[in-house]
Point group: C2
Chain length 337, copies 2
Amino acid sequence: MLNFDAERFLKIEKGAVALAAEIDAAAQRYVAEGIDSVFFLGTGGAAILMYPAAALLAERSRLKIFTERSAELVLMDHRSLGPRSLVVIPSLSGTTKESIAALDFCRARGARIVTLVGHADTPLGRSADRAFVNFAEDDTSSESFYIQGLLIAAALLKHRGEANLHEIVTPHLAQLPQALLAAKASFEPRAARLAETFRNEPYHIITGAGSAWPQAFYYGMCILEEMQWIRTRPVHASDFFHGTLELVEKGVSVILLKSEDEFRPLADRVEQFARQYTDKLTVIDPAEADLPGIPQAFRALISPVVLAAELERLSAHIEHLRNHPLTTRRYYKRVAY
Amino acid sequence: MLNFDAERFLKIEKGAVALAAEIDAAAQRYVAEGIDSVFFLGTGGAAILMYPAAALLAERSRLKIFTERSAELVLMDHRSLGPRSLVVIPSLSGTTKESIAALDFCRARGARIVTLVGHADTPLGRSADRAFVNFAEDDTSSESFYIQGLLIAAALLKHRGEANLHEIVTPHLAQLPQALLAAKASFEPRAARLAETFRNEPYHIITGAGSAWPQAFYYGMCILEEMQWIRTRPVHASDFFHGTLELVEKGVSVILLKSEDEFRPLADRVEQFARQYTDKLTVIDPAEADLPGIPQAFRALISPVVLAAELERLSAHIEHLRNHPLTTRRYYKRVAY
């Protein structure tokens, strides 16, 4: 695989998986202490990577679940944020300034604070009630954060007796890193072909539903826009039919990320539409991935993880073909704002 | 004002305002009956127009507040949707098929269902427990729906004793339609100039924070994309700094909608950034609107209403200059999907 270190990838995803017991124990304690709400915060991409977990909990738990942008939360007088709140803040660097401000704000309201960081010895690592630490780098952090989010959701649902996701997740969790590696390897040739197709494409509509929607949003904003300066229009597969569809015509790129969850029919509807009206439809379907050792019920929970693993391969080929490193920025960490 | 019927506009917005007493009485009853959750549904643009009300309630109430897309909700087994849920479904036509499916789904779960429709004798008008009816047309419906959403939020907060928004809203509500008309009239010359600027612009980043963000999302998707086939990138002012900013350079249009609420600093941050890096920044600020009879505290609640009123003027000039009627579609109501 192009510019890829399999051992490093496996180590990082095994690191995420290895947090399962700690996360379970922490969730047990928080549930016993009577939390009534969970705030998934974070900033930019890291916040988005918590959306699948937040959606699972919002649907299946009676806990109040909030996904607030850090920069907005600190300007609110949020009635549900208090001593019975669990706040989850992911930040790979552990230094994101909006997230530090959010942590301080939530601390002052008496909330319990968990951070997901790459290094313990960072502002967000040190200031949390509990920091889950898993070193990752930019190209491996999406999977790691998605996995940690899923573990948090499954553990909270288990200890509240609201759903048995942990029974689906736990038995096969150890196989997940290797399965994701296999998915990457088998996607590699297609990633190379897609990168050829996309190298001069100036604009993509990128869409998905269910647990694939956060990954469509993330990949459009945090990879194609931020790291490749390519215009995108991330749009949920349901919203697509209420505006953005009118932009579709021959020559317009539509990237559709499918999911293996119950919301797949929404993506199917986009596919049926787009096939008729553009010659540039790209469907990336985690159902086509070979995931050794992962049963169907588990696959339904990890579509965004599989998509992130595959799309990282696409990014590797795109940066290479476009001669535009993923680390190049006009503004981020270059100018003050 | 170009292609504008002031009497029709006033009649429609007065119709929305006139629902206040009915909405208050209904909210009183639902609170007395012990609702524990509110689902703001709807499909596409109508759903977005409920976001300011949902955000007010999520922040200030202990009710569980959900903004689900209709097409996804019906695929969920949502634990919080049941006999103690109030479901609010806006649909001007009263015939939106995803919304009808959502209504039937929520009915089967025992929820109380309120619809906001343009005509009582429509599927969504007839099937609700309570239909609030206010005839509107496409170019006047945003303000009407925003107002009805605000009335619902204020009434629920009042009867639950959680916030006194009604004390801010009620005394000056009757003046709102005329104030919005004044805002339109004073924005008209700028709308004409902006339309000139935008007529050949192929792409806009459109952003905002707080209660202006739903209007940015709505205007990008449902007007510029759907009705003018112009590419947009609606992005929240906080997310803007975590990806989309890298697309900004000289020649790239950024439309920033400000708000008069507590989230205004997030928009200020975008303004300060964008002023330095593009020569095509457009700031539309409801604080500049002359709103006779509307005190500051009320203004802080109605930024999206004022923005919608002003932007409708922009749309009127854009369709005229581009010779592209707002009603022209490639697909909507023309092909099956």
